[in-house]
């Protein structure tokens, strides 16, 4: 018996470790928190998939890439100062290149102020660029150079540099960044996210259904997009 004791102890610890890990992996809410916010839809509730979340309207018109008739419509709620959003940016670009017109991408502002102190200024910079038709150019620069500005005290000169770089009318852009119109766009997107149960960023919806965070790496997102495209957008 004495000889077996260490092995018994080791097996008990192994069982406890694997058991607790599996328990917590399954019960942690993950993406399920957002699923019940959809208005109770009639009929086809038997499907295992959660019902698409509709939510209130966001800023109009939204910032989109790709065709509006695409079978796969992806909507990202993002914050330019959020590192995982910055990491998701090249993945989304890659998906856009791979799927082309089959995939429509919409970006929604969800600045996590005050956790991210520059998030609202960054969102305003992008929205103000959008008023001159260059939202995506600013969006890309903000994400790609996130590490250059996120820890700075004053980010405005840096963003002004981006505005010049993409050829904006800088004076107009400066005025627009603090305008009521831009603030309203950000609030509208935020309200939409809130109504869809968005709690953090990046939160991604595909045809109205939330894509779990762990499925956002390219190798996991690609087959999910492909399946939706193959099924004609269900």
């Amino acid at each position: 018996m004495k000889r077996l004791l260490p092995f018994i102890i080791i097996l008990i610890v192994l069982g406890a470790a694997v058991g607790s890990a599996m328990y917590f992996t399954r019960t942690t809410p993950g993406s399920s928190a957002t699923r019940n916010n959809a208005p109770a839809t009639s009929a086809t509730a038997s499907n295992a998939q959660p019902a698409p979340v509709t939510g209130v309207a966001g800023a109009d018109p939204p910032h989109t890439l790709g065709s509006p008739n695409a079978p796969a419509r992806l909507e990202e709620f993002g914050d330019f100062q959020c590192p995982p959003c910055g990491l998701f940016h090249p993945i989304l670009q890659q998906m856009h290149n791979e799927f082309g017109d089959k995939l429509q991408i919409t970006f929604r502002e969800f600045p996590l102020y005050p956790n991210h102190q520059h998030s609202v200024v960054a969102a305003s910079a992008a929205e103000a660029a959008g008023l001159q038709g260059k939202f995506w150019e600013m969006h890309d620069l903000l994400y790609e150079h996130q590490n250059d500005w996120k820890d700075k005290f004053d980010v405005r000169p840096i963003f002004e540099g981006y505005a010049k770089q993409i050829g904006l009318d800088v004076d107009r852009w400066k005025q627009d960044s603090v305008s009521e119109q831009v603030a309203r766009r950000i609030t509208s997107d935020g309200n939409r996210g809130h109504s869809m149960g968005v709690k953090g960023t990046p939160t991604v919806f595909l045809n109205g259904r939330e894509v779990a965070f762990e499925n956002l790496p390219a190798e996991k997102l690609r087959p999910i997009l492909q399946a939706v495209i193959n099924s004609g957008g269900r």
Binding site: P6, I10, V13, T25, T28, L87, Y113, N115, E214
Partner: protein, 138 residues
């Protein structure tokens, strides 16, 4: 030997920490940013995954290895003490590398990753003392 019992107990702390990080990683709880809490730049970085396996899970396996070997050593298995010393030193070197990555490459720290590094350092010290002590008494 008491030192090995201590090492086994300390390794349980490391195991719990690594399992916690694994669950966080898999469920995306702390990885995503929220309004109230900081997101983990460390856990969402490319270094958090090695060949598709979360680094935290590899860490959990390593701590389980330490626990197993320390338990066997405490029950008088000599080979376990030697293997344990090798594993602890290897884990210590990996911890140093991970702290370097956090400090100079990712430019962000994750507190539970630092706790893991502290646990590994403690384990290495305990195990090396045990080895030296064994040499002297042998």
């Amino acid at each position: 030997m008491r030192l090995y019992v201590t090492a086994a107990v300390v390794s349980l702390l490391g195991l719990a920490d690594a399992l916690y990080l694994t669950v966080e990683h898999v469920t995306g709880q702390s990885v995503r940013c929220t309004i109230v809490a900081g997101c983990s730049e460390v856990l969402s970085s490319q270094y958090a995954v090695v060949a598709g396996v979360p680094l935290a899970l590899i860490g959990a396996a390593a701590y389980f290895g330490v626990f197993s070997l320390a338990t066997l050593a405490a029950f008088g298995y000599r080979f376990a003490g030697t293997l344990l010393a090798l594993l602890a030193v290897l884990m210590f070197i990996v911890s140093l590398w991970l702290i370097y990555l956090q400090a100079f490459v990712i430019h962000a720290f994750c507190q539970f990753c630092l706790l893991s590094a502290a646990v590994t350092t403690a384990l290495t010290v305990i195990v090396l003392i045990a080895v030296i002590f064994r040499r002297k008494t042998a």
